[in-house]
């Protein structure tokens, strides 16, 4: 056993004695799922899931598939980063999908072009005076909208004492209402070129990865992160220790809203349009990613790398089913089972850890 580096008088700190992080289990699950698809692919499709089997393309891996896997989860993954922080405090956020829709509608209205194929854009939301604006404007609007929605969530939860489930359920319905009311149900389209660049190509993946790293570092190395975990772990203890719990919760929900705003930017830019119905069920997928990634719904446990792995499992399953040419119905059925399975597994792991202590 490695001897302590900081030992004083027989008291030790031994890094090797720390328990295996739950993320390790999620990573193993991810590998196992990939292996299952690989084996099934070889047997059923006579093709490889992971590796490049085409003669005309260089490379060991099937890069196109890997890109699709991560691309299709990256936007919901951005939301999941915020949802993770909310769940870590012991809360829940059901409003993110609707916030994405409302934010996308509003932000896109500031990003429309004035002319389409030489004709005037008659569908511009604010009329011809508010077109071809600099891209910074819709970006700021999107971030502000997301933050405002999150701030309302946070204030409701922290200062009225209503459960997060109810507060964010209300926001989920209301924000969807805002999205529909904004243009009376009409989609907002034709963004400027610079706005369209935000979500083009692999940009969503880039944004997701950068934000994941940023928030991982924040949760791991800052007071904000420590307090987030402390509140989820034992709110009464956090309060008695002098942590300003209400203020901290407002901050966490505001950040979750901000991330939903970022997701709205990327999604509307990638789709080149914003619709009132977009982002439907995203909140549940984001929660599922966090839960699969080992974030405990009781709060206090889990990490951003866990959520990223959870998102990857999500992506692998969707792509794997497509690869095996199974219907989308099966995807949904299995997705549901995996979410429930992940929570059951987590509870079981907790009980076992408690029994060992």
């Amino acid at each position: 056993m490695a001897e302590a580096t900081h030992g004083i008088g027989g008291l030790t700190f031994d890094a090797s004695k720390r328990n295996l992080p739950p993320e390790a289990g999620v990573a193993i699950a991810l590998v196992l799922i990939v292996v299952v698809f690989e084996v099934l692919g070889r047997i059923l499709m006579n093709d490889s899931f992971l590796f490049n089997t085409r003669e005309n393309i260089d490379g060991i891996f099937n890069v196109a598939r890997l890109q699709i896997i991560i691309l299709q989860v990256s936007i919901i993954g951005i939301i999941a980063l915020g949802v993770t922080q909310v769940i870590l405090t012991g809360g829940i956020d059901l409003s993110s999908g609707s916030i994405v829709a409302a934010t996308a509608m509003i932000a896109m209205s500031f990003a429309q072009v004035g002319e389409i194929n030489g004709m005037e854009n008659t569908r511009a939301v604010f009329g011809s005076g508010w077109v071809d604006l600099p891209v910074i404007l819709p970006v700021v609007v999107a971030l502000a909208c997301g933050m405002a929605a999150g701030l309302i969530n946070g204030l409701l939860i922290a200062y009225t004492g209503i459960p997060p489930f109810i507060a964010t359920l209300g926001m989920m319905v209301s924000a969807r209402g805002v999205a529909k009311w904004w243009t009376a149900g009409q989609p907002v389209s034709f963004p400027t070129e610079s706005y369209a660049a935000i979500g083009s190509g692999m940009m969503p993946v880039f944004v997701f990865v950068v934000l994941a790293i940023l928030f991982h570092l924040i949760l791991r190395y800052t007071v904000y992160g420590k307090h987030t975990y402390a509140i989820g772990s034992n709110e009464a203890a956090a309060r008695m220790s002098g942590i300003k719990v209400a203020r901290h919760k407002v901050l966490v929900y505001t950040i979750a809203g901000l991330l939903a705003g970022v997701a709205a930017l990327v999604l509307s830019s990638k789709n080149l349009t914003a619709q009132a119905g977009m982002g439907m069920m995203y909140e549940l997928d984001a929660i599922a990613m966090a839960v699969i990634g080992g974030i405990s719904l009781q709060g206090g446990r889990g990490s951003i790398p866990g959520t990223v792995l959870g998102a990857m499992i999500f992506g692998v399953i969707i792509s794997g089913f497509t690869f095996l040419r199974l219907d989308a119905y099966y995807q949904e059925m299995v997705k549901g089972a995996i979410i429930v399975g992940a929570v059951v597994l987590d509870q079981w792991r907790q009980r076992r850890a408690a029994a060992k202590a």
Binding site: G7, I8, G10, D14, A230, G232, S241, G242
Partner: protein, 276 residues
């Protein structure tokens, strides 16, 4: 009522003790807390001097924990005055009380299960490498070293401080809670039934820590139902009954039987005699 304390507030001046308060660490006068119509604490006057270990005893609901919550500002008092460390104080919240030097080991342990020992010790007042508001960067190394030093001082043995609290026994948790005191060089330690949930061995361990604090001259308020423990560890016993301080007894002038009579109301001391 203690007579050497000026109780009127004149002008803009905060109340200040007249005469010599010398080595008094904490003094309360007329401390009162009402929860709606419930008078949980009524006119409680109390003091503790440097190096002194004072026990607070009383039946359930006598106001012991309420008294502690007012001192530590977990709740805001309805009335009364508190002096701590030579000055009149009105703490805004528990953090302010802790920063002033009052360290409390609460009945329901104020520990976060999923955090390790240094994280718990420094909860709410983390050491930071540089300040960035809520996003200040944590000084893990500094906190770890201070934790080990604090544990060393109290003689607490924890196999590995990087383990999360959830994997620890009740005794170890209690030790962690107590180790906070040593880590932050508190001026007054308050323990609210620190051994109520512990086994024989763990109780002995905690009692040893309390003895260590005594040797180091650290004042302590110990709330306990355990008569043997109180007689063993404390210099003075203050008895609460129905929200009031009903007796203030020096250990050498009393015995278990006597204290129980006060707790149950069979005997009464007319006023809070200045026994200290």
């Amino acid at each position: 009522m203690a007579s050497d304390m000026q109780t009127d507030i004149s002008g803009a001046n905060a109340p200040h003790p007249s005469g010599d308060i010398g080595d008094v660490v904490l003094r309360t006068e007329g401390l009162t807390k009402h929860y709606g119509g419930v008078h949980a604490l009524q006119d409680a006057s109390f003091e503790i001097r440097k190096g002194e270990h004072v026990a607070i005893m009383g039946d359930n609901g006598a106001g012991k924990s309420t008294f502690v919550r007012q001192i530590t500002a977990v709740e805001q008092r309805t009335g009364g005055k508190v002096w701590f460390d030579g000055r009149y104080v009105e703490f805004d919240g528990p953090l302010e009380a802790r920063e002033a030097g009052i360290e409390t080991v609460f009945q329901n342990l104020a520990l976060a299960d999923h955090l390790d020992v240094p994280d718990n010790l420094f909860l709410g007042r983390e050491k930071v490498l540089f300040k960035l508001g809520p996003f200040s960067i944590l000084d893990y190394k500094g906190m770890r070293e201070a934790t080990l030093a604090g544990l060393e001082k109290t003689g607490v043995k924890i196999p590995n401080i990087r383990n999360t609290i959830q994997h620890m026994s009740g005794g170890q948790r209690q030790c962690v809670a107590i180790a906070r005191t040593a880590t932050f060089h508190s001026k007054l330690t308050i323990m609210d039934e620190p051994t109520a949930a512990l086994g024989v061995q763990e109780t002995a361990q905690v009692e040893n820590i309390i003895r260590t604090l005594k040797e180091q001259g650290e004042p302590l308020i110990l709330i306990s139902h355990n008569m043997r423990q109180v007689m063993d560890l404390c210099d003075r016993i203050v008895v609460f009954r129905r929200g009031r301080v009903c007796a203030n007894l020096r250990k050498e002038e009393t015995d278990g039987q006597d204290v129980v009579s006060y707790i149950t109301g069979a005997k009464t001391q007319d006023q809070y005699a200045d026994a200290a």
